[in-house]
């Protein structure tokens, strides 16, 4: 929904779940731990997918001359990879990221419920 312009995310003001008071101190710690775990997983996924992305384009171009002699369905392999293959791998990377992050987000939401 439209967010009023001045209502910026106010990171300095404590999050509601963190400011649960003395009784909620333990809960707050658990939430912080859940967040940290979620971020660690996100970061790992990002790194893995970025390495795959780098290997795709760099490998395709760097070894293009060596791959040119192989052929798939009539295409020289290097031409196929450059014209279609690598772009389709990019699409798969983005799809995998969106799907996996949704799983991670849901896992985080469950952890919050458990903590509450």
């Amino acid at each position: 929904m439209p967010i009023e312009s001045t209502a910026a995310p106010s990171p300095s003001s404590p999050d509601p779940d963190r400011a649960a008071g003395a009784a909620g101190a333990a809960t707050g710690a658990r939430i912080a731990a859940a967040r940290a775990r979620h971020w660690a997983r996100t970061r790992r996924l990002t790194v893995i997918l970025l390495v795959l992305w780098l290997a795709t384009w760099f490998g395709t171009v760097f070894f293009a001359r060596d791959l040119a002699h192989l052929s798939v369905f009539g295409w020289p392999l290097s031409f196929y990879l450059a014209a279609q293959g690598s772009s389709l791998i990019y699409l798969a990377i983005i799809g995998a990221y969106a799907w996996r992050m949704r799983v991670l987000d849901r896992r985080f939401a469950r952890m919050l419920e458990d903590a509450a």
Binding site: S87, A98, D105, A109
Partner: protein, 710 residues
Amino acid sequence: MNKPGMPAPSTTADLKQDNRRYFRRLSRYYLWFTACLALFLVALGILEREGMPRQWIGHLYMFGTIVLYATIGVVARTSNVSEYYVAGRRVPALFNGMATAADWISAASFISLAGTLYLHGFDALAYVMGWTGGYCLVALLIAPYLRKFAQYTIPDFLAARYNGNAGGNGSANGGGRGTGRGTAVRAMAVGATIVVSFTYVVAQIYAVGLIASRFTGVDFSVGIFLGLASILVCSFLGGMRAITWTQVAQYIIILVAFLIPTMWLSAKFAGNPVPQVAYGSVLPKLAQREAQLALDPREQEVRAAFRARADGYAARIDGLPHSWEAGKVEAQRRLDVARSRNASLGEIRTAERDLLSYPRTADEAARLWTEERAANLARAQPPEPHADPFPGKTREESDIRRNNFLALVFCLMFGTAALPHILMRAYTTPSVHETRVSVFWALFFILLIYLTMPALAVLAKYDIYTSLVGTHFSSLPTWVSYWANVDKANPLISIVDVNGDGIVQLAEIAIDGDVLTLATPEIGGLPYVISGLVAAGGLAAALSTADGLLLAISNALSHDIYFKIVDPGASTQKRVTISKLLLLAVAFIAAYVASQKPADILSLVGAAFSLAGSTLFPALVAGVFWKRANHQGAIAGMIGGFLVCLYYMLHTNPMLGGSADAAWFHIAPISAGVFGVPAGLAVLVAVSLLTPPPSNASRGLVEHIRAPEQ
């Protein structure tokens, strides 16, 4: 379109259901739109068979589509801040992806990319790889975090992150000191946004003028202002909301316009209407034909003729300045002879023109003849095999081409991930998850076009190599003469019988990359309706990109400069009004610049990617992934990246007064970002580590954007 007075849903479940209903309604609208488009095409096809003149069809397309976009703009008009800047943050992922794709597919990629692939073969695939690969960086590193941040522009994010005080509540944290620093980062980000987007928007408006003048016969500048009118009605009235819904319609037109002729060609030459699959079988045949043409004696004859011409220029360059004087006397003498012996008017005219276009000074002659020599030498080369990666005489030469390919891919990817008008779209979806999905859809819709481009290039090349080469000059296909006459000053295609045997040789064909997409329907023998459709597609591609760019510029000026720096107390109504006025001003400046036909700016568009990547990418990514990055680091990184990139371009681009010999590792100036991005990143890291860590507020902001949505 969408009703402004949508009731605010109270719970998440309501919100989800509401979004679904909204999605279904939009899908219904666009299905109707597609059906109407199909009907329109069929009706025009029938009219053409009944004998409607081509000119009228061109006019109908041009005005029909412009009226359509204007209508969407009027229906979706708004003056609500959130609607104007970020389309109310409720564009479903699928449609946001389509709009991003339309934003992305510029006139250059729609009209010129297939031609570039035709002319440069494997080398040009760098554009396909780079322009699609950038979306991985957008999806993984930037877009979801921008959405979580949930503000309005890219400078917003940089200013909040490198300031320690987010948004408008400056007094609460950070205080005056922090605000000052945030302002510096913001102003620099705005500057980068404007530099990058403005060169790009000028090129789009230029393309609008070109297409309009070629297809409807109106004057170039009239074409520009017609296009401008439709851009303005759309973005002026409704901002992001109007351009989003216009762009979805434009994407559908782009897709239909590109796929119909290519599928036709594919069915004709490969017996399979799916070009992406079919051209695999054409490639080996093309390679065979290339090998045959490389050895053909008549081809060699023509190439020898070009080499002789190049040698002639070389001799004249060596003989400067005497050769220049002798040439001038000779040209004058020929004119006198023609006049004295009462030659035909045509001959006299030719002699006059020769004398008039003769270089005025010896220096000009040196420059002109060097260019001519290079052009003739290029035409003396045998055709390069289309699918061979990096052919070269020596291993070293081949390595240089590979390194340049890598560098270009690198720059295009990092540039894509830093283009403000694309990143701005991350703000418009209902949730972070939808933003991730929308990047997926964006790349999907882009690939529908981009995977077809190499196919079109191969199919057209095969057709030209087999059926055009070898025909008699008296029986040239009609599309050749049509496109040769469209632009007399710079013919898009020219075929001259160099060796005088009356038969077309490959080396005698000079083809401009821009003609390929536009001429595809005629090459395939389709009716003029489809040619008009392709032109409408090119127009849609140019207009949609121009819309997004203009909005990015005017938002940066109105939101970031006016509201955040000049007058933070401005009412929302005033902000939107200012934004609209600025949009108008920027649009007119861009149109004026485009109407001057600035060749230098057009050649700089490729450079915009390098500049964007070097300046904005390091600050954006470090802002999310490295808490220690601080404002000093960001400022130094942005300046450092920009300067390194600019220095390299000025230093190595002959058009900007540099020299190609000064290149580092033989990297072409267009790929300056390959030095700029790492330099920017290195400076950012070094300066951040040497200065105090950022405030707690900055760290809090990073925690906030990293945290998952609840």
